[in-house]
Structures are given as structure tokens and as C-alpha cells.
Symmetry: C3
């Protein structure tokens, strides 16, 4: 009977273990993130650079708040679909003062600006982080909140440009650019226009989209991003989006800065 | 004995469970896809946009068939390696009338046009979907089918161009562009030239490759893609490849449309 | 008792199995790689092309060593985050004579040149491969080795260019370009400058970054990459980075080759 009891006890332990495995099945299907020790086992200097240079120094530089650095970094991770790091950076963003509602809006915004699949690839990690931190549905922006008013003057310029350039090519694109983006997405109150601009510009640089950068950086600065912040954004982006993407963006940024001084 | 029987019964149940776990081990290593409920737990408006705007409206627009929208979408997912959504879209493509043989050819085609690793990253999901739907090897294109005939006139123009521009730089690239692509891949009968062009153009736009876009869009239209279809392709791509990639493509598309009207 | 013994024996087998599952839990969170048989179940011709054309032919072409082809391929996989294939190619690289220390440096180098998240996404696969092959920490480059001396003449040119172009835009970027890259990363002895150039150029082409390509290809050839090797690098890249990325790079490569003949 002792043996038997032992056997049954083992069985129930085992069943408990298997249930635990079932419970974590979804979590275990999220991409595994390397720890600093994992990095050390492959590249001790990468671990050192991550800890000392990046987290210990770059993130603490003046000129751009740690909250803004989190927005910039999330925009890179989502636009480059770097899902391995994303749970860590959702947590860091919340620690740095980005609100759950803002993270929610960042993901939806970047669905339009980096592609649907980039946004959906981040959902399960975000859900997991929200669940761990007890963030519930009532903290998230509604489907149809009261929208901010349209800036008619800026919309007139934008509409004229899109009608002239996109109109002859794709009426469908003109339609959704207006209805889905500039009369809906950009007016949602859960994320300030300046922050929407910050993640849009970051995503453009991270994906090498310099052709759209000038217009969006000007919009970002119209929306309140300072030149000093834009400058430090490039420093943050160099590490997360890679040096070449940022060097390719520099001449456009230079032109925007120069253009705004003249006017 | 009752306890013992119970113990052994539990054991066999447990063994069955563990075997099941083994069987699904491979499936569980595929990226987990978020449901609409998962999206709602993070961004209710993203779930709404996915359900109402994208699936409920964009996919049903006239001008481009749902079959073609599936080809465009698969090209984006593979070229941007958005593997989270890919099983869903392999299934949707089959529901929309894309044949298993065509999906097989799409993946092989995009190995050349988006990089080998992008194609292989989609294999396990496709295999899983094929197995679930009872699609077997005899429904897939052979390694060496009878190829369609070469269009000598168009090949003469292409060869002259590649010889002149690539010849001095990389004889190896000239060689495989001819043997692997234009005297093999494009002539495989499992996917029509017009559909090969549709996924090539979609992949180019999704990866911001505007430099190659003009030539391939002209080829697409020579192969039967209408201007209305190309226009609606851009609307579909805006959502899946992201707005900036499509806006960057617009001037090139405009030029191709205009050029074909003149001639 | 026999039954009981059998029961307990099963139990311990089962426990062993579950322990094994726990041990492989991390490994099972790495992306699953398709075998040639998996490919055959979806696209028999992709399996054939992989085996015959790519592994059987392209990798064996003269003009670029299999070691260099491994460096080029790893640069593509990391810069395009094609993590499905990466364990296979870490192993192949080691088989082809790339040293563990060099792989370690490749990953750290590409953190800067393709983005931090691209490098960290490869860490767990590399750690796994290193563990399987008994590669230990003492075979990896130290955090702070004795650096190679700076080439003052080339640094003077580079500094003047960066000060003039990046200086007015982002002092932070100027700072880290100097301290983190050209007075540290490029001088680390674990990977030769010529090999650093080879992976940098490969990463630029794989991500469509033609704006930075001319300068880095010239640096690569100054560092010892021959024109014949650069030419064959393009053939290798066509398969792994996709044809369009390489065709977009060709005019820049052509210009660099022509420019070096004149001077």
C-alpha cells in the first residue's frame, strides 16, 4: 500500500505538472526571449553592450524622455516584427509611463502604417503582459470614442495632394486614406497626435521608407515634436533599427530641419 | 485493487494525453495566431477594424476577385514573413478558389523573389493546412513538368537588358536569372504568368522595392492584369503591406498606367 | 504486484519522458525548421531547388569560398530575421570553417548594422548550436580585447563626412558612430575587417539599403574583398535575399567596380 500510495501521489503530481503544461501552452507558443546570460553564452560583448551602453546609457540620455524612447522602440519592434523582444518592451513601456490605452492605440495605429500582420504578431505578447499586470478591458480605448476635431486647413492641403497624386491611380486608396486614417485613426483620443507622429516617423525610418519621411516629420513637428527630440530619436533608432536605416534618413531629416528654420 | 485499477486507468489516460502532446508537438511550434477575442483584449478597435473594415468590406470590394486578393495577401505575408497570420490565409486562399497546386507554386516563386528563408518559413504552416484538408502529393505540381514555351520576343529584350546591366557585375547572377527564372520558374504551368506577375508585384510593393516595380507591373499588365485590378491591388496592399509602402509605389504605378495609355 | 510493478515502471518511464519534455522546453520554443520532406509535402520543386540548385550547385561555385558564403548567408538570415533557417546555417557555417568566435562577432556586429532585435532573435538558436557542439565560453571573444589600431587616414575622411552630414542633425548619432562603431566594433580582433565588410555589405543588400552600399562596398574592397568575390556574393545573395534586392544593388556595385578601375 505504501508503494501504491507513492504511485498515486506521483500520478497526481504528474497530472498537476501536465495541467500546468496545458495552462502554459499558449505562453510557450510566444517567441522565447534571450536573457543577458543567454547572450553571454554566445556573445559576451553583446550582453555588455545591451546592459551598459544601451540600457545603461542610451536610454538615459537627455533630450528624449524614457517614455518617448519606449514609443520609438515599440514602433521599431512592431514595424520590423522583432517579436522576440516585444514582451520585454511592452513591460518597459508601461514602467516608463506609457498607458495601457496608449499601447493599445500604438498597435492599432501601426496596423495601418506597417501592415496588418505586423500589428497582429504583437497581440498575444501584449495580451500576456496585460494579463500579468492585471490590465483589464475597461482600461482600453473604446471602438468608437468621441473623435478629436479635424484640422480643416491641414486636411485641405492633404486632400488636394492625395487627390492629385493617388486619385488617378487608386480611388480605393484615396477613400480609405481619408475615412480610415485621417478622419478616424489620427483623431482617436487615446494617443496624442504628437505620439502618433512619433511612432509613424520611427516606423518609416525603421523600414527604410524615406520617401514618406519628409511629410511625416514635418507633421510630427507641427504636432509638437521638438527638433531636439527628433535628433535624439535618431540616436535611439540607430540601436534598434540599425545604423544604415538611420543614416539613410539623415539627409531627409536635415532638409526638414533646414526648411522649418527658413519658414 | 479498485485504487490500483483507478491508478492504471489514470496512467493510460495520461499516456494518451502525452502521446497527443507528442503528436501536436510540431503544430505547437508553429507561431500562435491571435483570435478576434485576443485582439479585443488588447485593442478592441483593431478587432473591429479586422472584422468590419478589412474582412467585411475591403475583401468584398469589386475590381479584384477574392481569389486575387488572397494571392496578393499571401505574397505580402510571405515577403514580410508575417507567419502568424499565414495558416489562416492559406485556408482562406483555398476557400477563395486558389488551388493547392497554385499555393505550392506561389511559395516556390516567392523563394526567388523574396529570399529562400521567406519561402521556407511558410512551409510547416502550409503542410499543416494541406494535411488538415486532406490535400495529398498528387495534387501538387511535379518537379519537372512540361514547361510553357518561351516568348522569344520578350526574352530578347530582357536578355539584352540583363546582359548589358548585370553582365559586367555578376555573370553568376546573369546565369541563374536566365536558367532558374526566365527559362524555368516563369514557364512552370502550375501558376499562370498573370498570377506570377500579381504576386511578384505585390511582393515588390510590400518590401519597398520600387526600383524593380515599373518593369514588373508592365509585365503584369502584358500578362493580363487590368488597370482596375492593379488599382484595387493597391487598396488591398495598403492594409496588409502598410500605407507607406503603397504610397511609395503610387508614382511608379502612375507612370506605368500613363505610359501604357500613350503607347 | 506484477501489475503494480508494471504500473510503477510505466510511471517512471512517463516521468522520464516528462523530464525530457521539460529539458527540451526551451528548444521547442525555437522556430521549427522544415526538412526537405516537409518541403516536398508542399512544394516538391522547392525541395528539389534547395537540394540540387542551391546546396548542390550554388554553394559549390568557384569565386567565393563556402566559408564566405556562410558569412553572407548568416548576414541575410539575421538582417531579414529568417530565424527558421538559422540553426541549420550556424551549423553549416561552423562546418565550413567559420570559427565560434567569428559567429559571436557576426551577431554583435549585426546588432549595430541591422538593429538590436535582429541580433537578439538569433541568440537562443546560436546558444543551442554552441551547446550541442560543446563550444564553451573560453572560445568566445572577450568583452574588451586589445583592439586593432585605428587607420587614422581613413578615420579622418569618415569623421569629416559624418561631422558635416550628421553633425547638424544628431550629435548623439555622431557620438556613437565614433565611439561604438569605428573606435570599437570595427577594431575588435575576433572578426577580420574584410569579413565585417562582407557581412555589412550583405546585410545592406538584403534589406534594400542601397544608399549606404557604395561607401561600404568600397570599404570592403579596401579591406581585401576582391571583385570576383563581390560578384559571386551577388549570386549567393540572389537566392537568400531574393532577386529584387540584388537587382536593385547592381547599378551601385557596377559604379563602385568602375570607379575603382579608373583610380
Amino acid at each position: 500500500m505504501n508503494l501504491m500510495k507513492a504511485g498515486l501521489a506521483s500520478l497526481s503530481l504528474l497530472l498537476a505538472a501536465c495541467t500546468a503544461t496545458d495552462k502554459t501552452a499558449m505562453a510557450s507558443r510566444l517567441p522565447a526571449a534571450p536573457s543577458l546570460d543567454d547572450m553571454r553564452a554566445v556573445s559576451p560583448v553583446l550582453a555588455h553592450n545591451t546592459e551598459s551602453t544601451l540600457l545603461g546609457e542610451v536610454w538615459k540620455r537627455p533630450g528624449l524622455s524614457s517614455r518617448d524612447r519606449s514609443l520609438v522602440t515599440l514602433a521599431v519592434l512592431i514595424s520590423k516584427q522583432q517579436t522576440v523582444e516585444i514582451a520585454y518592451h511592452f513591460n518597459l513601456a508601461l514602467d516608463n509611463g506609457v498607458k495601457p490605452a496608449e499601447i493599445s492605440e500604438v498597435i492599432n495605429h501601426l496596423a495601418f502604417y506597417t501592415g496588418w500582420g505586423n500589428a497582429t504578431a504583437s497581440i498575444l505578447s501584449a495580451k500576456d503582459v496585460f494579463a500579468q499586470r492585471g490590465i483589464t478591458a475597461d482600461q482600453l480605448p473604446a471602438v468608437s470614442p468621441k473623435l478629436s476635431p479635424v484640422d480643416e486647413a491641414s486636411e485641405k492641403v492633404r486632400t488636394a495632394f492625395v487627390d492629385r497624386t493617388v486619385g488617378p491611380v487608386s480611388p480605393g486608396l484615396v477613400h480609405y486614406t481619408s475615412t480610415a486614417l485621417f478622419h478616424d485613426l489620427w483623431l482617436r483620443p487615446g494617443l496624442a497626435p504628437r505620439d502618433r507622429s512619433l511612432i509613424t516617423v520611427s516606423a518609416l525610418i525603421a523600414t527604410g521608407q524615406v520617401a514618406q519621411l519628409g511629410a511625416h516629420l514635418n507633421r510630427a513637428m507641427d504636432n509638437g515634436l521638438t527638433q531636439r527630440e527628433a535628433s535624439e530619436m535618431l540616436t535611439q533608432l540607430a540601436f534598434y533599427a540599425g545604423w544604415p536605416n538611420v543614416f539613410t534618413a539623415v539627409p531627409v531629416v536635415n532638409e526638414v530641419f533646414a526648411g522649418r528654420k527658413k519658414s
